[in-house]
Every structure is written in C-alpha cells, then in structure tokens.
Amino acid sequence: MAFNLRDRGADIWDKASAPGRIAIAGGAMIFAICLPFMGGTFLNTPISSYEAVLVYPVGLFVLMALGLNIVVGKSGLLDLGYVAFFAIGAYTMAILGTHTSLNFWEILPIGIGLAMLSGVILGLPTLRLRGDYLAIVTLGFGEIVRIVALNTMAIGGPNGIANIPTPPKFLSLEYTLQNQKAYYWTVLLLIFLVIWMIRRLSTRRPGRAWESIRQDEDVADLMGVRTLKYKIWAFAIGAAIGGAGGVVFAAKSMFVAPEMFTLNTSILILACVVFGGMGNIWGVITGAVILAYLPERIRFISDARLLIFGLTLVIMMNLRADGILPRKKREKSLHS
C-alpha cells in the first residue's frame, strides 16, 4: 500500500520538535478526556447512554485490546481465552466488594495481582507449546474459568453476584449509574498508564525480546533471548491489564454473572487487535474504538455484531493481514 497512515503519523511525530510533541500528545489526551461531554453531538448513541458506552464497551475494550496486543500482537502468542483474566478481575471486585469493607481502590491491586498470578500459572506449563496448541489450551482455560464460575454456588453460580458497591467519591467526583464520567476517566487513566508502560518496554530489552520471539522464536532462543521468561512476562502483563479492566467493569455494572464472560468476548477483543493492526498501539486503539463504538451508534448492526466481527476477521486476514494501521513498514527505530 503506497499510503500508510501509521507511517504518516509517525513521520509527523518524528519531525515535530519537543514542544510540538507535547502539543500533539497533550491535545490528544485533552480530546480523550473531554469525550464524555460530547454526548450532545452526532457522537451520541441512540439506545444506551453515551457515557455508559464510553466506559463499556469502548474504554474497556481499548484497555483490553492493548493488553491482548502485548500477547498476540507483539509476542505472537495466540491467546483465545483472554476473557478469563477479565473475569478474574471482575469476580475479585464482586466477592471482595460484597464480603469485605475494602473499597474499589483497595481491591484494584488485588484484582490485578490475582489476574497476573493466574496468567503466570497458565503460562508456565503452556507457553512451551507453539501456535495452534497454545491457542486451544488458552481457549480451554477461558472456558474452564467460566464453567467453574457457573457451577460454583459459593460465588453465585449462574446468578452471579449482585449489589457490588460503587467506588467511593474521589475528590468530589461521584461514581454513579447516571453519571458515568468518573468511571470513564478511571478507565482513561488506566489506558494512559498502559500506553506509557508499553512504549517504555517496547524500546528496551523486553520489547526486543517480544519482537524476536514473534518473528523467529527458534532463532531468538539461539541468540540468547530468554524466550520462556519473556513469554510469561507477556502473559502476566496482558493478564494484569485484563484483570484491571475486570475490576472496573464489576464496579461499574454492580453485577457480575458467568454469562458476561464468554468466548465471544475473547474473540471480540482479538478482532479489535487484528482489525486495528497487530503490534501497533495506535492501530489497536483505533480498531477497538471502531469495533466497540460503531454497533452502539448504528443500531441495526447491533444484533449482527458478532457476525460482522467474524466477517471482519476473515476479510482482514485475507486482504490486509496487517490491519488498518499496520506496524511500521519503513526504516525507523522500534516505536510502539
């Protein structure tokens, strides 16, 4: 393709001076922060509340797509059970929120920690497998988590857990059902953190390790890259991000049930990564925003959303496997 959107963007960024870059980054951040106030414009969603949509699916899908991108896009590990980490985060919030006096901010690190731990536990035995087998095992893991949740009455069984407390007031900002802005900005904060983290890691040893694993794992091994260690780190970080999203989701929805964490969600997140441009932060964000927001905006495709995702996967893979904003094609040093 002669016109590469991502490289154009990268070009503008590289040519900008330091103040120029601050202006660009700052401008983008301010735009993102102001999004909840644009509900009165053409961006409004007809059926669900605009602000609620910004949190879920848009914001949380972006967050999860960034997490899955580290695993699939950067490291080339096909994880089809990503929703499991989201579920673990959500159930942690649900159980601790309803049974202890801990609040959202205290539960958040616990949820992240538990999700990360399960990422490591899952990864240790399975990351020795390659490609297809890893995909199937992770799919199995995702389903096992859901089925266990479904059949364990102690955590609500098929009825799930309700009455999850909302986060406490934060600097006079209230987290309520009607006013979802606070939730959105919390998610946005997490997204900014994750972007910072990914950019940091990409230009250093972990990023190089992940890239080399994705491009040619056997050779990476022979060049001294500790592939197993970094694969597990990729899983762990991805899981941590998924778990964080889950905690926020539970606090926002105030109710969790096994049917919310199905294989479909894993596939949807994967579609965001693939559609946007694997390995590339901006592509992934774009993909997630489009695929999460559009069905809410355009009612008639909402029921066929999953069908469109399936078609997206097939068409993208066959025609433009690199995504809308593919990773760099030109000679530039390792960016995100």
Binding site: R204, R205, G224, V225, E331
Partner: protein, 258 residues
C-alpha cells in the same frame, strides 16, 4: 593449546537414521576450523547439537574443558559463549540491522524486566553500552551505513554480513558460521575470507561449514571432514586435500561449488 570446544563420541540418531556416528572433534582456541563434507554428511547437525537444538543420543560436548553443554537450554549455551549463523539467512527481518545486533547483545545485560520498565540507571547504562557496541560491530562488518534499514530490505550480501554481526553481538568466544559464502560471487568470497580472518585476529575462535574449497584452504588452520555422519579426516588443509578417503567421498568436487 586450550580446547574451546570438544565433541566426545557424539552420536545423533533420528528414529532409524544415524546423522552423527561417534564423532570426536575439538576446536582449539583462536583457530579457524573448517568442517566440510558432501551434502547430507551431518555438518549442520553438528552445529545443531552444539547449540542445543538437538540433544545428542550419546556422547558429550564440553566447552572450555569443564562445562558440559548437553542438556543445557539454548540461551544458556549462547550465554556460555557460542553463537551461530544459519544456512538460510534467518534475520529478524522486521527489525533494523542495529536492532538485530542489540537484541543479540541483550544476553549480556543483567537488567531485568522491572529495571527496563522503570528506567533504572543500570538498565539505561546497559542500553547505551549495548547500542554503542552494536554500532561498532556493524562498522566492523562494514554495514554501518544500513544501521537503520529493516533486515528484510537489505541486499543479500549485507544480510549475510548482518547475521555474522548479530552473532558477534552475543559476545561469543566461539563463532559457528554455516555456509557464510553461499550465494557470493568470487570477489565477495575474497572479502568474506578477509573478514573471517579479521574476526579470528580480533580474538574469536571460528568453526566454519563451507563448500568452497579455495576459500577453506586459504583461511583454515585445520579441516575436519564428515561423510555420512562419521569423521573421516581431521588435519591441516593440505594433508586433507590429498587424503584419498576425502577425495573418494567427494569424487572431486570443483572449487567453486556454490
């Protein structure tokens, strides 16, 4: 004369096929040892067994007289100080030349994941040093002008040179070169021969698989010959060249065999 590497009675069997049969071989520090033999003799298998791609069915591989490599993980073997190139170029095509070499250099870094994430001083210092060293290696191999080109966009000759630079990036003691001259024209082969000598003179030990006899005879200190997985000769180039068994195995392969 220290033995950098020694293969002791190494046998490698794949199901019913014996690729290496009781091979005894050693590489002395600072020498250029050439490994030759007809196609299918097992030369690349030797490399694979040394670098841990395969575990030998029998025998031992000893590094620097006291470290057994058998059973070690591949990255551990690289960490010990052995690096290789490949018969078919296998670069990290979507990384730049510089990044390829920096990635190889990471094996020498002590900083871990957390250090990289939070930009700890040691991590930053290692990054800088690694980058400088990588540039030096690219200069050494004569490809520093392509430092920021993607591996897959380099011309073939530069790709081969980059593979060598990348292997050197792991700061090895022993460098394994698998048919480094494949696809080169005569003048490129002459340049490569000079480069290999330069590498040896810089302190590395080289074990090299090649088919081009004049290249080998010109730079090797010793030549080992494999045929059907068995070592049939191991001596100075001139002796090996006149060994009847070697001649029979090859049936007189012409000098420019690529």
């Amino acid at each position: 004369m220290t033995k950098v590497l020694e293969l002791k009675n190494v046998t490698m069997q794949f199901g019913g096929v014996t690729a290496l049969n009781d091979v005894n071989l050693h590489v002395e520090k600072g020498e250029i040892l050439a490994l030759i033999g007809p196609n299918g003799a097992g030369k690349t298998t030797v490399f694979n067994v040394i670098t841990g791609v395969y575990k030998p069915t029998a025998g031992d591989i000893v590094f620097n007289g006291n470290v057994s490599l058998v059973g070690k993980k591949r990255w551990q073997i690289t960490e010990q100080g052995i690096a290789r190139t490949f018969q078919n170029v296998r670069l990290f095509g979507e990384m730049t030349a510089l990044e390829n070499v920096i990635t190889a250099g990471d094996v020498r870094s002590k900083s871990g994941f957390v250090g990289s994430l939070f930009g700890m001083p040691r991590s930053r210092r290692e990054e800088r040093e690694n980058r400088e060293k990588a540039m030096e290696l690219l200069k050494f191999m004569g490809i520093d002008h392509s430092a920021h080109k993607l591996g897959k966009n380099l011309p073939y000759g530069d790709q081969r040179r980059l593979e060598i630079a990348r292997a050197l990036g792991t700061r090895p003691e022993l460098l394994l070169l698998d048919e480094p001259a494949a696809g080169f024209n005569p003048s490129e082969k002459v340049a490569l021969a000079e480069t290999i000598k330069k590498i040896r003179d810089a302190g590395y030990t080289v074990l090299l698989i090649e088919h081009d006899m004049s290249l080998i005879m010109g730079i090797s200190d010793r030549v080992a010959v494999l045929d059907f997985g068995t070592k049939i000769a191991d001596d100075s180039p001139t002796v090996v060249q006149n060994d009847p068994r070697v001649i029979e195995a090859y049936l007189g392969v012409p000098a420019d065999a690529s």
